[in-house]
Amino acid sequence: MSDLDQFRLDVREWLEANCPAEMREPVRGEDDVCWSGRNWTFKNEAQKQWLERCVAKGYTVPDWPTAYGGAGLSAGEAKILRQEMARINARPPLSSFGIWMLGPALLQFGTEEQKVHYLGQIARGEIRWCQGYSEPGSGSDLVSLQTFGEDKGDHWVVNGQKIWTSYADKCDWIFCLVRTDKTNKYQGISFLLFDMETPGVTTKPIKLISGNSPFCETFFDNVVVPKEQIVGELNRGWDVAKYLLGHEREMISGGGLGDGAPSLGAQMLGSIGANGLGQLDDGLLRAELAQFDVDALAFKAMAERFTDEMKSGKGHPAQPNMMKYAGTELNKRRHELVMAGNGSDALEWESEASKGGAKARNWLRTKANSIEGGTSEVMLNVIAKRILDLPGA
C-alpha cells in the first residue's frame, strides 16, 4: 500500500471519528457558514467542536506549514483530504478571507514574524478579515484608488473611503490598499493591515437588490497604522494585491460548482413533473437544464484540472481569471434556471413557504459574482492580454 493510500485510510478514520453528524449536511445558506472571529457566536455546539478539532489537526489550512497553523500536507495529500471530506459531505470547518486571500499573500510576501503571528490567527479562526480594495471611483480601474496614508515617521495616518468591503461591520481586521505616493500610479500603493476597532474607522452597510447587506462602505478618518503593519515593500502593494486577486478569483470561481448535487435538471422533477415519457414536462426548460448540466460537469472537471495544475505549478499564472469568468457566469446561469424551474413559488419574497424569499434573494445575490473581485469584462481583458497575447489588450 502506498503512503497516499495509507494516508487516505487515516484521514477517513479521523473524519469518521471527529466530524459531527450536523457538520455532514450540505451548506444550505449563509447561515450555515462558519466565519469565526472575535465577535463570532457559533451556531451550535457541533460547529464549534468541528472547528476546534480541525484547528488542532491543522485542517483549517491543510497545505500550510505546521509552523503557521497548517497540517503541512503535500498536494497529493491535500487532494485526498478534500476528496474524503467531500465523500461524507463534511462542511468546511472555517470559511475565511484570511485563508483564501490574505494567507496566500502573506506566505508569499510576509516577514517570518508576520507569518507566525497573522497566519496562526487565521488558521485558528481568531481574527475575521475583510478586504479594502474598491473605492467609489475605482471599480474595475482599481489602481486609480485615492485613499491616502500620510507618512508620520513610525506610522501612517490614513484618510479615505472604501466600498464593497465584505462584512466590514462584522470583521476584526482589514487588509487594505492605501496610496502612499501620489506621484506614481502603480508603484505608489502600499498593502496595510489594521484593526477595524482603530479610532476613525466606521462602516455603513450597503443594502443590495437581494435585500441583504453583505457589503459595506468603510470610512477612514485619521486612522493611525503602525509602520510594521505593512505587507511587502513600501509602494509595492500592487504586487501583493495582484497576487491576492488571483486567489480571490480562484475562490469566487468555485460558485459555479453549485451545491454538490450532480444534476440541476434532476432537482426540477419535483416542481415541474414528468411527461408520459418520463421526461421533465417542459421540453424547452429540460433542454436548457441538460445544456447546463453538461456545462456544469465540464466545469467541475475543469476545476479539478485547475487545482491539480496550480498545485503542481503547471497552470498558466493567469488561469484564475479564466476560472473566475467561467465559474461566475455559470453560477448566474444556475440561479436563473433555479428561478425558472420553481416558477411563481420562487417569486415569493417574504412568505414562510419560500423561507423569506431564499431562492429569489440567492438569485439576485449571484448577479454580483461577475462584478466583485474583478468583473467578467476585466477577466476577459486579462485573458486576451496575458494568455492570448493579443495586441494592445
Binding site: 443594502k207 437588490i209 426548460l285 411563481s344 417569486l347 412568505s351
Partner: protein, 378 residues
C-alpha cells in the same frame, strides 16, 4: 394595417408616457414598497387611470368604453413597463375585460362602470402550480342548486387580496389536461368559504394563494358558456399574454435607456465605459433584439385586433421573444452598471425583478416557444 402606430395611437402613447412618467415613475414603486403597501398598487393611481380613459380601451362604446384594441392596450402597457408603474391595468382592464366581453350584459353592467371609473379591481385565478399550465386546471365547480360550488386552490393571483372579484377558471367536466369542460366564473371578493393568503413578490407586487372550500356562486357568475370556458379563457390569455409582452418590452426599453445613459457617464481607466467596444457591441445587440421584440408584439396585437387565426401563434412568439429579450436586457443592464447596479438604492434592480415576475406571468419564454412548436405540429 401598417406596422407602426397611427396618429391616434401615437397621441395615446404620448399622453400615457407623460402621465406615467409624472405620476408613477420608479420612485412611486419604491415608495410603495418601502411603505409596505398591502395592495401592491395605489387605488388613487388606478382612479387616475380611469380619468385618463385607459381603463376603457377594450370596453365597447355601447358599454361606455373607448372600443379600441390590443394595439392601444399595448401602447399604454409599454409605458407602464418603462416606468414599472404598479396598477391593476393588465389584469383588470385587459385580461379581465377580454373575458367579461364574452359574458352576459348583466356581468358587463355589474363590472364595467366600476372599471371605467378606476374603482373596480379584478384578479385572475388561473394558475394552480408553480408553472403556468392553463389546461391542467383541477379546481372543481359542481352544480349546486341554481349555481355551482367551487373547491380547489389557486396561486399567483396578482392583487387577489385587493380585488373586488376574482375571475376563476374551474372544471365543470373532464379531467386535468383537457381543454373541454372548463367554465369561468366571476366570484365576488366576499364569497363565503374563500380564503386568501397574500404575500409580496420579488417585484413588490402582491399575490395571493386562494383556497376555495366549497364556495357557492349562482348561475349569473358564469362567464360565457358552461363547459366551454376554454374559449373565454383563451381570450383572456391572449389579451394577457400580448399585454404582458408589451409591458415586458417597456421594461426592457426602460432598462436599456438607463444602461445606455450610464455607459455615457461612468468613467473607468480614464475613459467613458461606453467607449469600450465590447460594451458597445453588446449594447447594439440589445438594441437589435429589442427592436425585433417590439415588432413581434405589435404584430401579435394587430392580428388580435384583426381577428386573425394567426394571432394565436404570434401571441406566443411575442411573449417568448419579449420575455427572452427583456431578460437579456436586464441582466446586461445590471452587469454593465457594475457594483452600483447591485445596490437597492439604484433603480436598475427593480427592472430585473419586474422582468422576472412578468416573464413568469401567463407562461414564460420556454412555455411559449414550446407552444409555437406544438401549434406547428412538432
Amino acid at each position: 394595417m401598417p406596422m407602426y402606430l397611427n396618429e391616434d395611437q401615437a397621441m395615446l402613447r404620448d399622453s400615457a408616457r407623460e402621465f406615467l412618467k409624472s405620476e408613477a415613475p420608479v420612485s412611486h414603486l419604491r415608495k410603495l414598497r418601502d411603505d409596505n403597501c398591502k395592495d401592491g398598487f395605489r387605488h388613487a393611481l388606478w382612479k387616475q387611470f380611469g380619468e385618463m380613459g385607459f381603463t376603457g380601451i377594450l370596453i365597447g362604446e355601447d358599454d361606455g368604453g373607448l372600443g379600441l384594441g390590443h394595439v392601444e392596450a399595448g401602447v399604454v402597457l409599454e409605458e407602464i413597463g418603462r416606468n414599472l408603474s404598479p396598477s391593476p391595468f393588465l389584469t383588470t382592464a385587459i385580461a379581465g375585460v377580454a373575458a367579461l366581453n364574452h359574458g352576459g350584459q348583466h356581468l358587463k353592467d355589474k363590472f364595467f362602470p366600476g372599471i371605467l371609473a378606476g374603482d373596480t379591481v379584478l384578479a385572475l385565478a388561473i394558475d394552480e402550480g408553480a408553472k403556468h399550465r392553463p389546461s391542467h386546471i383541477t379546481t372543481k365547480a359542481e352544480r349546486s342548486g341554481n349555481g355551482f360550488k367551487l373547491t380547489g386552490n389557486k396561486q399567483f393571483v396578482i392583487q387577489g387580496a385587493s380585488a373586488d372579484a376574482l375571475i376563476v377558471a374551474a372544471r365543470t367536466a373532464g379531467a386535468a389536461g383537457e381543454t373541454d369542460g372548463l367554465t369561468l366564473f366571476a366570484v365576488d371578493k366576499d364569497a363565503a368559504n374563500m380564503s386568501m393568503d397574500s404575500t409580496r413578490l420579488v417585484d413588490s407586487s402582491m399575490a395571493a394563494h386562494v383556497t376555495f372550500d366549497g364556495v357557492e356562486v349562482d348561475g349569473d357568475a358564469v362567464i360565457g358558456e358552461v363547459d366551454n370556458g376554454w374559449q373565454v379563457l383563451s381570450s383572456l390569455l391572449r389579451a394577457g399574454r400580448a399585454g404582458s409582452a408589451a409591458e415586458l418590452v417597456g421594461v426592457g426599453a426602460g432598462a436599456m435607456d438607463m444602461t445606455v445613459d450610464y455607459l455615457k457617464q461612468r468613467k473607468q481607466f480614464g475613459r467613458l465605459i461606453g467607449e469600450f467596444q465590447a460594451l458597445q457591441h453588446r449594447a447594439a445587440h440589445l438594441y437589435s433584439e429589442m427592436e425585433i421584440a417590439r415588432a413581434a408584439v405589435l404584430k401579435a396585437q394587430q392580428l388580435l385586433d384583426e381577428g386573425k387565426d394567426s394571432a394565436e401563434i404570434y401571441v406566443s412568439v411575442a411573449k417568448a421573444k419579449a420575455g427572452r429579450t427583456t431578460n437579456l436586457t436586464v441582466r446586461e443592464g445590471v452587469q454593465m452598471h457594475g457594483g452600483i447596479g447591485m445596490t437597492d438604492e439604484y433603480d436598475i434592480g427593480f427592472y430585473m425583478k419586474r422582468d422576472r415576475a412578468l416573464n413568469e406571468f401567463m407562461g414564460d419564454a420556454n412555455f411559449h416557444a414550446g407552444r409555437v412548436a406544438e401549434i406547428f405540429g412538432y
